[in-house]
Amino acid sequence: MEAVLSLLVALFFAAGIYLMLSRHLIRILLGIVLFGNAVNLLIFTNGRLTRGTPPIVPPDLMTSAGPVANPLPQALILTAIVISFSFFSFLLVVVYRAYQDLGTDDTDEMRVAEPADEAPPPMGY
């Protein structure tokens, strides 16, 4: 099972990185989403997989009856999801603003902060 998930992680990484290499911001954004999900899946697989036993203590017991799945990777992933979600929603707003204000989503044309024709400093006076 781990091997299958590892392949899936690799596939996600490959697709994410391929999209992030694009010049267009919208593809970079989609690549970031895939990249983030690949990492979450990676943490999940790293915590070793246990099928069919959620780490929830039954209401009438004080501890779980048998072995359960490792809850810590799930907590880590939940944190990572929350963070990447807020990061992504912020990025979405900024990229949308960039598209509106700069009139392009091509990163090669986004040269407002670093103009291509900036003169070198004077050599003397």
């Binding site: 939940l78 929350v82 807020s86 929603s89 979405l92 707003v93």
Partner: protein, 139 residues
């Protein structure tokens, strides 16, 4: 999206989703659920309302600015940790009390206030982003 069907259905959907979000929030302590996921459901409810009636209606209905709601949640979450100072336990320790209200025992804990704080942070911050994205769509 100003179709008649959607505008008629939207208030019911919103109300139902808000109710469900609170249910998910309170269920979260011992079962799957909790502040973050409950908060997201509430944000989805406000987003539906915003799509149906426009952003100003949602802002008026919220009354407080979304970021103020987020701040309130953050304050609540931080203070539910500070309470453990009084009991000489480490920061963010879960403290429980079981007061009896009208003959019914209610479990109250700092874990729950923390989770409500998370709920408010998510509702405030994500609603603010969602509304600003919807705003642009109209203008």
């Amino acid at each position: 999206m100003k179709t008649l069907i959607f505008r008629t259905a939207a208030p019911f959907i919103t109300a139902l989703m808000l109710l469900f979000s609170v249910f998910v929030l309170l269920r979260g302590h011992n079962d799957p659920g909790g502040g973050f996921i409950g908060g997201l459901i509430a944000v989805a409810a406000f987003a539906v309302q915003g799509i149906a009636f426009g952003v100003p209606v949602v802002r008026r209905a919220l009354y407080f600015h979304p970021m103020a709601i987020a701040g309130c949640g953050l304050l609540m979450a931080a203070f539910s940790g500070v309470l453990s100072y009084a009991f000489a336990v480490p920061y963010l320790s879960g403290l429980w009390a079981a007061p009896s209200l009208f003959g019914v025992t209610v479990d109250v804990s700092t874990v729950m206030t923390f989770d409500i704080g998370v709920y408010l942070v998510v509702v405030g911050a994500i609603t603010s982003i969602a509304l600003s994205l919807e705003d642009r769509e109209d203008g």
